[in-house]
C-alpha cells in the first residue's frame, strides 16, 4: 500500500514539447559592445528574440510563440552540442541554455545545437533590452518597444538554418538579419576529413574605418575585405606536421549575401606516424593574409599589420595566434572521445569560421558516433 503511494507520488511527468514539421535553427547575435562617451546612451546589443510576436495597441510586444530572452553577443566557439546542462541566464546563441527542443541526427550530423521551430513563414523580431536579469515581459512597455529588427522569413521543413543579427553598414548603423540555409546535410562529406568554410560578415565600410587604435589597441583584429586563408596542422608537442604548413584553403571576401561558401578540408589523420584511431592532441592554425603576401611572412601577433594579417589558433597543440580558441581533445576541430571499444577515438567535424567586425567565431558540428562499450 505504502509502496503504491510512493510509486504514485514519485512519478514525475515531463511534458516533452512537440514541434510538428520542424526546421532547425541556430541564431547568433553578432553585434559587439563598443561603448564610447559619444554613444553611451545608445541601446546595447543585448536582445530578446521574439518569433511571431503579439503586439498591443501601442506596439509593445505582449507575447510570442517563442520568446528567447537575455540574448547576449555570441561567444568565440559555438559548441556542437546543446548547452542545456548550464544554468547561465545570459545566452550566447539560440537555443543556448534554454529548455528548447533541439534537432535530431540528420544524415549523420548531430543537430542538437539547433533549436526546432515549426516550418513555414515566421515573423522574427529582435528587441534591445536593458542588460539586467529582469524578464522581458516584466519590463515597462516603453522599454519593450526598442525594436532593432522586424522581419519575416520562410523556414522550410527539415532544413537547417543559421541566422545572424548583423550590422549591415557602419555608415547607416542599420541592423539586419542574415539567414543562411545550410547545405551540409545534403553534401557527400567524407568522415575522414575535417571541413571548414569561411565567411566575412563584417559591416560595409568596417575595414576602411576601423583599425588598431579604434579597436581598443588590440593587435591585428581588423582585416581587409579580401583575404586568403591558409592552414597549418600541429601534432603533440606543437610539432608542425610535414606537408601541412601554410596550405592554401580559400579566398575570403566580405559579403553579407546569405549563400553557403564551399567547404575546404584537411585530413583527420595527417600524421602518418600516428594511429588512425586516435589523432592525438592536435592543433590547427588558420592564417588570414592579404592576397600577394607570402604565407611564410613572419608577422608578429603583437605587431600591428594594418589589416594584412591575422590568425586563429585552435586546440591544445597550436602555437599562439592572434585569436585563440582553447579547445581540448574533446572539443575543437578534431573531437576525440570514447566510442565503441576505443577510448578515445577521433572524429572529424564540419565547421564554419565567421569573421564579423573584428571578431572570429567558430561554429562546430559533430557527426554521429557509436556509444562507448564498457568491458
Amino acid at each position: 500500500m505504502a509502496g503504491a503511494v510512493l510509486l504514485l507520488t514519485a512519478c514525475r511527468k515531463t511534458d516533452f514539447p512537440e514541434v510538428s514539421s520542424p526546421a532547425y535553427l541556430r541564431v547568433f547575435n553578432c553585434l559587439t559592445y563598443n561603448i564610447t562617451i559619444a554613444n553611451k546612451d545608445a541601446p546595447q546589443p543585448f536582445l530578446t528574440m521574439l518569433v511571431d510576436p503579439q503586439l498591443d495597441a501601442s506596439g509593445a510586444p505582449i507575447g510570442a510563440a517563442i520568446t528567447f530572452d537575455f540574448m547576449d553577443v555570441r561567444g568565440e566557439l559555438a559548441r556542437p552540442y546543446p548547452d542545456a546542462g548550464n544554468t547561465a541566464l545570459f545566452q550566447k546563441d539560440f537555443p543556448g541554455t534554454a529548455k528548447i527542443p533541439v534537432g535530431p541526427i540528420v544524415n549523420g550530423y548531430d543537430l542538437s545545437g539547433y533549436g526546432m521551430i515549426s516550418s513555414g513563414t515566421h515573423r522574427f523580431m529582435f528587441v534591445t533590452r536593458p542588460r539586467s536579469t529582469q524578464a522581458f515581459y516584466s519590463l515597462s512597455a516603453d522599454i519593450r518597444k526598442h525594436i532593432l529588427v522586424d522581419t519575416t522569413v520562410r523556414l522550410d521543413q527539415g532544413e537547417v538554418y543559421t541566422m545572424n543579427v548583423l550590422e549591415q553598414s557602419i555608415y547607416t548603423r542599420k541592423t539586419g538579419v542574415y539567414l543562411r540555409q545550410e547545405q551540409f546535410t545534403k553534401l557527400p562529406l567524407s568522415d575522414s576529413l575535417v571541413y571548414v568554410n569561411f565567411y566575412n560578415l563584417s559591416s560595409e565600410g568596417f575595414s576602411d574605418t576601423y583599425n588598431y587604435g579604434a579597436l581598443n589597441s588590440w593587435f591585428n583584429r581588423a582585416i581587409r575585405d579580401t583575404m586568403n586563408v591558409y592552414y597549418s596542422l600541429f601534432a603533440t608537442n606543437r610539432r608542425s606536421i610535414n606537408g601541412y604548413r601554410n596550405v592554401f584553403t580559400s579566398k575570403l571576401i566580405r559579403s553579407q549575401d546569405p549563400v553557403v561558401h564551399p567547404y575546404s578540408s584537411f585530413p583527420l589523420f595527417p600524421d602518418t606516424t600516428a594511429s588512425h584511431i586516435y589523432a592525438g592532441t592536435t592543433g590547427q592554425v588558420l592564417t588570414f593574409l592579404l592576397p600577394g603576401v607570402p604565407p611564410e611572412t613572419p608577422f608578429g601577433n603583437n605587431q600591428e599589420s594594418y589589416g594584412l594579417f591575422t590568425s586563429l589558433a585552435i586546440g591544445p597543440e597550436a602555437p599562439i595566434g592572434v585569436f585563440n580558441t582553447m579547445a581540448d581533445i574533446n572539443s575543437g576541430l578534431v573531437i576525440s572521445i570514447r566510442s565503441g571499444k576505443y577510448n578515445p577515438r577521433s572524429f572529424a567535424t564540419v565547421n564554419t569560421v565567421e569573421y564579423v567586425n573584428g571578431n572570429l567565431y567558430i561554429t562546430t558540428l559533430q557527426r554521429r558516433y557509436d556509444p562507448p562499450i564498457y568491458n
Binding site: 561603448i35 562617451i37 559619444a38 546612451d41 546595447q44 536593458p130 542588460r131 536579469t133 529582469q134 587604435g213
Partner: protein, 351 residues
C-alpha cells in the same frame, strides 16, 4: 505511533524494564522554555534611524531632519533605496556643519533630499549593467544611474548616480528593514531648470552668459536637448582680461567657431557627467569638435588637430571648486562650472 507499541511489547516481557523506562522518561524530561517573553522590537534598522545613528551620515541626517523627512523613512509600509552622500561629500560642496542647512530654503532642500531616494529596495545587482538608467526619485527628478561591468561580481560593479560615484563594498548594498542604502562619494545636483535659465540665475556665470549671447548659442541652451555645457566662471574670464566690455567688442567672425563653441561641445547632443569617461573606460576616447579632441572628465584634456595636448589652450582645465562645480543635472542637459578657459581665442584667429 511506534512508541506505545514498543512499550506494550516491553510490558509483556519485563515489568522491571518497564519501570526503568518510566523512571528514565521522568528523569530525562526537563523542558526549558527557551522562548524569550519580551516581544522582539521589529523597528530596528529602519532607514531613518540608520541614517540618524551613523556618524558618517550626520549631515544627511541633519538635512532630512530639517525637512521633516527623517522619520518618514522609518515607515513600515514602504521600501526605500537611499543614495546617501557621506559627510565628506557634503564637505566638498561647502557644507561643513548641520547649521549650514539652516540658510537654505527648506522646500528646495526637501526636493533635493527626496531626489536621493527611489522607491523599492534596489540592490546594485538589480540595476541593468549599462549607462544612464533613468530612475524617478521621490523628489521627481530623474536619477541617471550607470553600472559598468568592472569589478569582481555584479555586487561590485562600478556604479554612479548622476555623476556621483558609489563607494565600493561595504559602503553599498547596506540592507535595512525597509530598504537598502548605498553611500555616495559626492552629492547629486538635480535642478529642475533649463540650462539657459540656470546660467541666467547664476551670478558667477554672467560673463559666460554674455559670451553665449555674443556667439549666437544662447537660444540653443534652452531648446537643444541634451546638451553638455562647460561654463567658465567670471573670475576665469577676468584672469584673461576678458571683461564684459571686451566680450561685447569681440568680432566673432575673426575666430574659428571652435574657439567659442567648444564650451557647448558645438551644441552636439551629449549628456556627459564628469565621471562618464572613466566609466566607459576609454582612455583614448575623445569627442571631436572641428578637429579638436576633447576628453571630458573632471580634468578636461584637449588635443589640437596636430595631436598635441594643451597646444591651443591651457593644460589645467578642471571643475571650479572641485565637486562644487561639477555635474549640475538640468532639464535639458548637464552643466559644469570650470576653472579655466578651454581654448585660447587668439590661437584660433582666422588669418
Amino acid at each position: 505511533m511506534i512508541l506505545p507499541f514498543t512499550i506494550n511489547l516491553i510490558m509483556k516481557r519485563s515489568t522491571i524494564l518497564y519501570m526503568l523506562l518510566i523512571f528514565l522518561g521522568a528523569a530525562s524530561c526537563r523542558k526549558t522554555d527557551l522562548t524569550v517573553e519580551q516581544e522582539r522590537n521589529s523597528e530596528i534598522r529602519s532607514a531613518g534611524d540608520f541614517i540618524r545613528n551613523n556618524y558618517d551620515l550626520s549631515l544627511l541626517a541633519a538635512a532630512l531632519q530639517q525637512t521633516g523627512y527623517l522619520d518618514s523613512l522609518n515607515a513600515t509600509d514602504k521600501l526605500f533605496t537611499i543614495w546617501a552622500p557621506d559627510n565628506n561629500a557634503f564637505n566638498n560642496i561647502g557644507i561643513k556643519s548641520a547649521s549650514d542647512f539652516k540658510a537654505m530654503n527648506t522646500d528646495s532642500l526637501r526636493t533635493a533630499v527626496k531626489n536621493l531616494i527611489i522607491p523599492n529596495r534596489v540592490y546594485i545587482t538589480d540595476l541593468p549593467s549599462q549607462l544612464d538608467n533613468i530612475y524617478t526619485a521621490l523628489g521627481g527628478g530623474p536619477l541617471y544611474i550607470s553600472v559598468v561591468v568592472q569589478g569582481k561580481n555584479a555586487d561590485a560593479y562600478k556604479t554612479s548616480v548622476s555623476g556621483c560615484d558609489v563607494y565600493d563594498a561595504p559602503k553599498r548594498n547596506i540592507a535595512l528593514r525597509n530598504g537598502v542604502l548605498h553611500v555616495l562619494q559626492s552629492v547629486p545636483k538635480i535642478i529642475s531648470s533649463n540650462i539657459q535659465d540656470f546660467i541666467a540665475a547664476d551670478t558667477s556665470l554672467t560673463l559666460f552668459a554674455q559670451l553665449m549671447k555674443k556667439t549666437g548659442q544662447w537660444d540653443a541652451l534652452k531648446t537643444v536637448q541634451p546638451l553638455t555645457v562647460y561654463a567658465p566662471q567670471n573670475s576665469v574670464f577676468l584672469n584673461y582680461q576678458l571683461t564684459a566690455d571686451s566680450i561685447n567688442r569681440l568680432d566673432v567672425k575673426r575666430y574659428r567657431p571652435v574657439a567659442f563653441n567648444v564650451y557647448t561641445l558645438a551644441l552636439q547632443q551629449h549628456h556627459l557627467f564628469s565621471n562618464d569617461l572613466q566609466l566607459v573606460g576609454g582612455a583614448n576616447d575623445r569627442l571631436l569638435i572641428d578637429g579638436y579632441g576633447v576628453a571630458p572628465a573632471k580634468t578636461i584634456t584637449i588635443w589640437a588637430p596636430n595631436g598635441r595636448w594643451g597646444y591651443h589652450g591651457p593644460n589645467n582645465i578642471g571643475m571650479a571648486g572641485g565637486d562644487a562645480g561639477k555635474d549640475f543635472q538640468l532639464n535639458n542637459g548637464v552643466l559644469h562650472r570650470i576653472n579655466n578657459i578651454m581654448l585660447y581665442p587668439d590661437s584660433l584667429l582666422i588669418k
